[in-house]
Amino acid sequence: MTENLHLWVIPILPLIGAAINGLFGRRFSRQRVVTIALAASGAAFAMALWIATQFSSASAPYVTYLAPWIRAGNFQVDFSFYLDQLSFVMLLVVTGVGLLIHIYSIGYMWEEGGFYRFFSYLNLFMFFMLTLVLAKNYLLMFIGWEGVGLASYLLIGFWFTKDSAASAGKKAFITNRIGDFGFLIALFLLIKHFGSLDYTQVFEAVSKLPVEVNGIGLLTSIGLLLMVGAAGKSAQIPLYVWLPDAMEGPTPVSALIHAATMVTAGVYMVARSHVVFDRAPSALTVVAIIGTLTALFAATIGIAQTDIKKVLAYSTISQLGYMFMACGVAAYSAGIFHLMTHAFFKGLLFLAAASVIHAVGGNQDMRYMGGLRKYIPWTFWTMTAGTFAIAGIPPLAGFFSKDEILWKAYGGSWVYWLIGLITAFLTSFYMFRLWFMTFFGEFKGNQAPSHEHDDSHGHGHGAPHESPMVMVIPLAILAFLSLTGGWIGGRLEHFLSPVFNDGLAEASEKIGETASKGTEHLLMGISIAVALLGWYIAFLLYRQRPELPARIAAGLGGMYKAVVNKYYIDELYAALFIKPLVDGSTAILWHTVDQGVIDNSVNDAADSTRHASDAVRHMQSGNVRSYAGWVAAGAAAVIAYMIWMGVR
C-alpha cells in the first residue's frame, strides 16, 4: 500500500468544530463561533488540497484503517477510509463548496438567533458528508448517509418555532427513511450473500458473478434496493416530495445540502456501486427511466412556480434526474461530471437567490421582484453566470456536462435523449423566466403583501441593497467555477476511468459503435439551439409581452392548474399512503391493538393481581401480634418438617 494520507482527519475536523460550537457555542460570541466553524471546514478543505498534491492515480486507492468496529464471527466492519478517484472528486467538491457556503453563511446568518447552532449543524453535516464519501464500506457510508439526513433535518427545521419548517424537516426525514429502508435491505442482502460490506471484498465477489440478463436475480434486487435508497436521498420519483418543502430551511443550507452535496449522495452511491449495476442491466434500466422521468417531471413543475427557491428546488430535482439518467446508461463519469458542475452552478444559483431575497428583505415571490439588476449588480452578474451555465449555453459548465449526458443517453436510447432534450429546453425556459422576472422590468417589491417571512433579516422593505462582501466573494468564486468548470470534462472522464472501467466496458464500447463524431456534433448543435429557444421564449413571454403568460395559463386551464399544484402529488400521497396509514394506525394499531389488546392485557394482569392481593391482604392486618402468630405457626411447621425428615 501507499503512504498514509490520514484520511480520517478530514471528517474529524468538522466534527470537532461541531462539538465545540454545539456544546459551548451558546456562551461564545459570534466571532468566535465563526472562527471555530471556519477553522474546522477550512482545515478540512486544506487537508483535501494537501491530499490533492499527494494524489496520484497510479497508487489509488488509498486506505486508512482507523479502528475495528464490529467483529462478529467472520463478519467484520472497520472504521476505515478509502480514497480513489471518485471519492477524491467528491471530497474536493464537498469541502470546497462547503467552505464557500460556510463563508457565505457568515453574512447571511449574522443577524439570526441560534447562530452557533447553525454553524454547529453545518459542521456536523460536513462531518457526515465526508464520512459518507470517504467510507471504505457500506456500513460506514450508511452512517454518513443517515448523518447527513439528520443534519438535513436539523437544518430544515432550523427555525423550529415555525410550524411549516418543523413539518418540512419531519417530511424530509420520513421520506428519506423509506429510501433508507431499501438501502438497509440491500446491505442485508450483501451481508447475507457476500458476508461483507467492504467495497473491495464485495466488488471482488460481485465481479466474479455473471451478468443477469433475464429476470430479477440477486444483483438486480440489490441494485433496485440501492436505487430506492438513492431515490430517497437524491429526491427522485417517487420520493422527491421532500425536497421542495426543504426550502423552508435557511437558503445557504438549501445551497449546500439540497443542491450541491447531500442530494448527490444517491448519485455517488450508484456510481460507487457501479460494479453491481453493471451486472444488473434491468436495474440500470430502472435507474435510467426514473432519472429521465424525474428530469422531465420536475422541469414541468418548475416552469409554473413563482417562489424563487421552489423553482431552484425543482430545477435541482430535474438536474438530479439527469445524473441518474447518465448512471442509468452506465455513463457514470458523465453523471459525476454533471454532479460537479451542478454543485458549482446550483450552489451559485441558490446563494445568489439568497442574496436576492436578502436584498428585497425576505420576500421570495418572484412576482414582487423585478428590476433588481441595477440595485444588486454583483448578484445579477454572478446569477447570470449560473443561469447561463444551467441553461447549457456554451462555453459554460452546464453545457459540457449536460451535453455529455445527452450524448451518452443517446447511446442508450433515443427516447432518453429526446426527453432529456425537452427537459433541457424547459430548464432553459424556467431559468431565464426566473432571470427576467427577477432582474428586469420594474421593481415591484412595494406591491408585495406585507407578510413578514421568517427568513427575513429585520431589514424591512426598503430599497433593495447589495449584500456584504463576505457573501459576494463566494458568489464570485462559484461564478468563476461555473464559467470554467466544464472545460475539464474530457480530463475528468479520463481521471475517473480507473474507477469505472475496471468492470465491464460494454456500455462505452456500445456507444462507440453506435455513434460517430458527426452525430455527436449534430446533437451538440441541437442542444445549443434548444437552450437558445428556451431563452427566446422566456424573453418573449416575460420581457416583451408580460401579459401573455396569464393568457396562456388561462388557455391551458386544468393542465396549468395541475402544474402549479405540482400535479397534486402531495395530495395523492396524502390520499394514497398517509391517510390509510393514519386511519389504519388509528383504527387498528391504536384502538384495536394498543387499547384493545395491549392495554387490556396489562390492565387485566393488574386487575387480577389486585383481586388476588385483595383476597390475601387481610393477612396484613397491621397487628403485630397477628404477624407473630403466623411466625409461630410457621416455625412450628418448619420444626415439624425437620423433625419428620430426621425421623424418617
Binding site: 397487628n623 401480634r625 397477628s626 402468630g629 403466623w630 409461630a632 416455625a635 412450628a636 415439624a640
Partner: protein, 174 residues
Amino acid sequence: MDLHLALFLIFGAVCVAGAINLLVQRHPINSALSLITVMASLAVEYLLLGAEFVAAVQVIIYAGAIMVLFVFVIMLLNAGEEARTGGSRIALVIGVPGMIVGSTIVAWVLLKRSGTGDVAIGSLPGDPKTIGWLLFHDFLLPFEVTSVLILIAIMGAVVLASRPELSSHLEKER
C-alpha cells in the same frame, strides 16, 4: 438427690415461675421484675454449669443495665396496666397452638430421642482469663463487629429518642 440436681430444680422452678409471672402480670413493671428474677436465677444456673463469668455478666449487663433501661422507660412513660384488647384473633387461634405444637415436638425430641449425657457441676470453668483470651483471639473479628453494632445502636437510640425541637431549644439556651 444430689446438690446439683436440687439447685438446678430449685432455680429452674424460680425461672419458670418468673417467666409465667411475666405473662400473668398485667402491669409491665411487675413483668419487668419477674424477668429480673428469671435472669438472676439463670445466673445461678450458669454458675452451676461453671460459667461464672457469664453469670456475673448476666447480672451486670442484663439485670443491671438492660432491665434498668426497661424499668426506666416504664417509669418515664408511666405505663399503666395492660388493657385486655382483643386486637388479634390470629395470635390466639393460630399462634398459640403453633407455639404449643412446636415446643411439644422439641421437648419430645429432647427427652426421648437425644443421646446427650449428663453434665457435671462446674464441668467447664469459664473463667474470665480464658474467655478473654478466646474473645480477643479466636473471636476478634466478631468482637470488633459487635462493637460497631453497639456504636450504631447508640447513635440510633440517640436519634430516635431525641426531640429535635427540644434539643435545639437547649442549644439556643446555652
